[in-house]
């Protein structure tokens, strides 16, 4: 009876593709955009806020999650899959701290999450996770890090990246405009990148900033509006000059 669940769902196609993984990537492409930018002294995560229904409690719809005191995660794709993966990652963070007396390095937890995602492409009776994640944080030596994982289980480090809807456009913008920035400049870069594909306005983006040794700071609507207005003012200034 149990043999019915041993057959893998993710199998190779004749031309070497894993179609289930590619379909999972399609699911990611349908998710709302998430962007991450690494500065010299902080990391900025920006996500496109899906419009919430009138009766829905806005603060319970979160795309940016804390994994531990020093690292966070944003994702694009199936929210439920993200919840499961985030729970596993949180437990792993504490388990590591219990045995090693040290906090996880960002690469370690990325490797763990990517490992879990890969396992689900090579096990019986399960389907891959339909999410790509952006994992950010500070290592013990204070270096800021940004990593991306995808449903295949691959991961790599980035200076700035985007995932989800229109991520290609955002990434191209970042490739054109990325420079080593710090502080507010990094926040503005992340928001400018996000505004390329999202309707302008504080209501449609959520910004979170992670600084070394400090808890994740999620910008409230007023702070987001302030950044957006600053960007628009700069744009207007360059257009008229």
């Amino acid at each position: 009876m149990s043999s019915r669940y041993d057959r893998a769902i993710t199998v190779f196609s004749p031309d070497g593709h894993l179609f289930q993984v590619e379909y999972a990537l399609e699911a990611v492409r349908k998710g709302t955009t998430a962007v991450g930018v690494r500065g010299t002294d902080l990391i900025v995560l920006g996500v496109e806020k899906k419009s919430t229904a009138k009766l829905q409690e806005e603060r319970t719809v979160r795309k940016i999650h804390v994994l531990d005191d020093h690292c966070c995660l944003a994702f694009a794709g199936l929210t439920a899959d993200a919840r499961v993966l985030i729970n596993k990652a949180r437990i792993e963070c504490q388990s590591y701290k219990l045995t090693m007396e040290d906090r996880v390095s960002i690469e370690y937890i990325t490797r763990y999450i990517a490992g879990v995602q890969q396992k689900y492409t090579q096990s019986g009776g399960v389907r891959p996770f339909g999410i790509s994640t952006l994992i950010v944080g500070f290592d013990a030596d204070g270096t800021p890090r940004l990593y991306q994982t995808d449903p295949a289980g691959t991961y790599s480090a980035w200076k700035a990246n985007a995932t989800g809807r229109n991520s290609k456009t955002v990434r191209e913008f970042l490739e054109k405009n990325y420079t080593e920035t710090s502080g507010d400049e990094t926040v503005k870069l992340a928001v400018r990148a996000l505004l390329e594909v999202v309707e302008s306005g504080g209501r449609n983006v959520e910004i979170a900033v992670l600084r070394a040794g400090q808890p994740l700071q999620i910008y409230d609507e007023k702070q987001v509006e302030a950044v957006v207005s600053a960007i628009e003012a700069e744009k207007a200034a360059t257009e008229t000059s």
Binding site: V66, L67, D68, N87, R90, I91, Q94, S95, K97, L98
Partner: protein, 188 residues
């Protein structure tokens, strides 16, 4: 009234040898909870770190700190589950301050849990319970509490065979955890 005061001796014994005389036996479970552990060396550390990390995980998962009562019950549950497999030889006092005020819990390795106004683990109880019974009253200020603790320490150091010990003193209030100056045997 608005705090929980915990004291512990600082000696680590290895049969008849004192291995260390400055060991901190009161662990910070989180910013508002103290865990004073008496028991087998390895078990004490292993178990209290395990509880600490699980409390942290709960905090991250829900964004809320666990109440003292919930933390005490979680700890008790872990002790009770382990009892019939491989028990932790750990007796503890868990004190914390949360939205409902200060509370103190007395736990032992069999999975016993009692909410108490004052408590002791180890030989200290033999000497201090009578003092605490007579002198403890509700809503004591921190100064009164410290004075009461000093009375207990004096008694232990004069009457207990393995006395003359230094003590770690920590207090939890709504503002957090504070370490009070350790009482040295010479000045008590």
């Amino acid at each position: 009234k608005d705090y929980v005061l915990l004291i512990a001796d600082r000696k680590v014994a290895y049969s008849v040898v004192a291995l260390k005389s400055d060991h901190d036996k009161i662990m910070h479970l989180d910013a508002s909870k103290l865990f004073a552990i008496a028991g087998e060396g390895g078990d004490a550390v292993q178990f209290s770190e395990y509880v600490q990390k699980n409390l942290h995980l709960y905090n991250l998962k829900t964004g809320l700190p666990l109440s003292t009562k919930a933390a005490a019950h979680f700890t008790r549950n872990e002790l009770a589950t382990a009892l019939r497999k491989g028990p932790f030889q750990v007796n503890a006092l868990l004190g914390g301050v949360d939205h409902s005020g200060p509370s103190l819990y007395h736990l032992d390795y069999l999975g016993t849990l009692h909410k108490v106004n004052f408590g002791a683990q180890g030989y200290g109880g033999y000497f201090c319970y009578s003092i605490l019974d007579r002198l403890w009253k509700p809503d004591m200020s921190l100064d009164e509490g410290v004075a009461l603790m000093n009375t207990c320490i004096k008694e232990i150091n004069s009457r207990f065979l393995v006395g003359g010990a230094d003590f770690t003193i920590k207090v939890v209030t709504a503002e957090g955890i504070r370490v009070l100056d350790p009482v040295l045997a010479s000045s008590a």
